[in-house]
Subunit: 475 residues, 2 copies
């Protein structure tokens, strides 16, 4: 798993110091080696050493004190606690979620609102001119400039590039294992449609992305929300109990940097989830939409990594990292491949041709990896800046998730607070958040909300978080 | 409805003579005015008169005899009879259709087969370089080059342009009445999903496009195929009887140039269908995919033209006329708009952004109308050439539809013939046709097949049709 060759020198240094801080090898207030010492220890140039330290400083890990040198930051330890494992009642939820979602969505059209509620990175973080170049390439090189129907299973080169990329999570897929779709939501729609029919029960994490709730309900499915830990994901003991007691048609897991709670299932959990799927013969639809946005050194693995029998339907897309509007996603449906291809054919014939060619080219040229490296750094820094701002301004007793990837924070206000009320007050100040009640069909998460740190960090953003905190104290 | 201003002079002349021939005002063998007389009568130049006559000659209406002038062609009258109204049993069909469809589809990958079986115009007939220009325009002008999520309902400018175009069939729609989709099949999927659930009954024409059968079955619906006339479409008396006796959730009509039978419902039929829909409160999903490819002077109207209560869901796309691979379609869902938008959101968030911008630009600049004019002429000529070739070579007793638009012929071989056998023999000669059995769930249409004239006419095509006819005599 060593990948040092791919990394820049400064990143090796900042990562190793970051690790020492996280592991409490270095403690708040500890003095760090001087720039000059770093140069000597690691045999690097002055500029590399400086870059390593500014990286750590940007993320809030360290701070420089005039004429004294660099120190491990205190603020880093001062972040609020993370939320506890969720505790939904084991019953089917009611239908009141819909109205709230519609209300929050209706504000999205208003351009001048500050959209902490939106689940996408800001356009400024996307490499738009380079994507355009790939689109022009696709128009030049694809048969009939991409105006003809694409293969039903999807563009071959795109599927090859996606298959190539899975080595990052120790996956093993071939071009023919992958079916392209119009974004990850389409991948979920086809996968779920194949596995469950009207009246069937599926299980999901709790809280869960509201789009999944809406999709399931529009297909007439019954949704069981299971307890989920903000660090390690779905409680697998409760999952096993549920699989034993009820007829479940599929398990839907956002395994890496879950939306909205930010959890990332450890390897052992992923392996065990796959074992349970096989033991009870219940497929897992794995929504790995955020897996590429990791802040650690390596990309987290997937349930699919541990799949020996084809029982995992691994879904992904470039919508959260590259071009949401392109609607390019995919699924590796394992043993359900033929059924997924048929459903895709019946529901939409094939996916849009030129965007598939453009993204294939973008992946093939290495531009994607290059872009991801920058995006991850920016979002990691953002996450820490947001945490600082929250920790500075929110009421005592507020808990915040500490995601190791993605771009979403889950904020739990003190028990009595009402996040829908906070939403209503905040929107008057042109600040939009996503209240926790959107992420469940049950009567819970009233004191929670989701906050995206995918916006470009600036003074307005910082002031808005401080204002949010002030408002949270008043409700 | 007069639109003479839009037409070229030569078209006015060729159309009016063509009409006289179709109406038997002029009969086979009749001598036509000389070029010089045409110039005098219509006050046009020599070149315009010649162009009008070559137009008619190209379509097989007239022929020139050396040193004698122009005459109404005999061959025009010699075309085989059209098939009779279909007569499906009023029962739900079995499941054997699927296997045949899969078999015919599996041949599509083989590049060097001559694909009479494919339901799209040849890429050579599409204005690819001009489409590319519109795509480049979209990348330059759209916010963030079209990489961001589009509005859930669809690109505003595209919806405006679609609404503008409905004046061609005396429709009245506004931008906000239209929802864009990923091709027409997606429009049908959303519409049908909103109106009917697992176990419900829907009615369709017979024969019917197999994609509709597959979609309905994948949604768990029961399909009733109703008798359909190759000229006037679904038998509305039988439709009324069915609506009276059974609980029907929706009527699906391919109202203009039906795939595969080529029928085009007359205005009175469309108006009556809408009346029935209202009387029995059963919505019509109108698949108007081929309406723009008309061979007469005017575009046929739609059921939607007569819709006063929003009970018609009018679906269309540019897949059959411009760029199949772009997956740009739409639906004007009438009073079901909110439900259709929600279904679209839940199943796929939004449609691909840049292709919507490109097509909006293509429509706005008038390039689409311009292209359609050429495409219609080419396909009309093609249809007559194909009819000639079939009439020259197929066995006695063969019937062929005489579509007034679209690009599909429905061929009915003599009773005892087996079109699946013809398919199997033909594919050995690298000729692919679509056997009639694909277009029904019932045990019928064994002696029928669908033939696309969307290929570019040349000697190979002509010889292949002759060969098909020879093979048809042998089976």
């Amino acid at each position: 798993m060593k990948k040092f060759d791919d990394k820049f020198l400064f990143e090796r240094i900042s990562n190793s110091i970051g690790r020492q801080i996280r592991n409490n090898v270095l403690n708040p207030g500890d003095k760090l080696p001087s720039i000059r010492e770093i140069c000597r220890i690691h045999a690097v140039s002055m500029s590399t050493a400086i870059r390593a330290y500014s990286e750590l400083e940007g993320k809030g890990f360290i701070e420089s004190r005039p004429k004294s040198g660099y120190f491990v930051s205190y603020t880093h330890q001062k972040f609020p606690s993370t939320p506890k494992t969720s505790n939904p009642v084991s019953d089917f939820g009611a239908e009141t979620t819909e109205a709230l979602i519609a209300r929050v969505y209706s504000e999205l059209g208003t351009e001048d609102n500050l959209l902490f509620s939106l689940g996408v990175p800001a356009p400024e973080l996307l490499p738009i001119s380079r994507i355009n170049k790939s689109m022009v390439y696709a128009m030049r090189r694809m048969p009939h400039s991409g105006t003809s129907y694409e293969k039903i299973q999807g563009n071959s080169e795109l599927r090859r590039q996606i298959a190539r990329g899975v080595i990052n999570w120790e996956g093993e897929l071939k071009e023919e294992d992958i079916v392209t779709t119009a974004g990850c939501m389409s991948a979920l729609t086809y996968s779920i449609s194949v596995l469950a029919k009207k009246g069937d029960i599926i299980v999901v994490e709790s809280p869960v992305y509201f789009g999944i709730l809406q999709l399931a309900r529009s297909l007439g499915l019954r949704v069981l929300e299971l307890a989920t830990n903000p660090v390690t994901g779905m409680d697998l003991d409760i999952l096993e109990k549920t699989l034993k007691e009820k007829t479940i048609k599929l398990i839907l897991l956002v395994s890496n940097f879950n939306n909205p709670i930010g959890s990332c299932m450890p390897d052992e959990h992923k392996a065990r989830a796959v074992e349970l799927a096989e033991k009870y013969n219940v497929p897992i639809v794995e929504d790995d939409l955020y897996g590429d946005i990791y802040f650690g050194e390596y990309r987290p693995r997937c349930c699919k990594t541990f799949d020996k029998t084809g029982i995992i339907l691994w879904c992904g897309s470039i919508s959260k990292t590259l071009a949401p509007g392109y609607r390019v996603g995919w699924v590796a449906p394992g043993k359900f491949k033929d059924q997924v291809i048929r459903t895709k054919l019946y529901h939409s014939v094939s996916s849009t041709t030129p965007v598939q060619g453009a993204i294939a080219h973008f992946l093939a040229t290495g531009r994607y990896e290059n872009h991801l490296r920058k995006l991850r750094n920016t979002l990691h820094s953002n996450s820490l800046r947001y945490l600082h701002a929250i920790s500075d301004s929110f009421p005592e007793g507020t808990r915040v998730s500490r995601p190791s990837g993605g771009f979403l924070l889950w904020v739990e206000l003190p028990k009595k607070s009402n996040a829908v009320k906070l939403y209503e007050t905040a929107i008057k100040h042109k600040i939009s958040i996503a209240p926790g009640r959107m992420f469940t069909l049950q009567d819970q998460y009233h004191n929670c909300f989701r906050l995206s740190y995918g916006l470009v960090w600036n003074e307005t953003v910082e002031n808005s978080i401080h204002l949010l905190g002030k408002l949270a104290k008043q409700i």
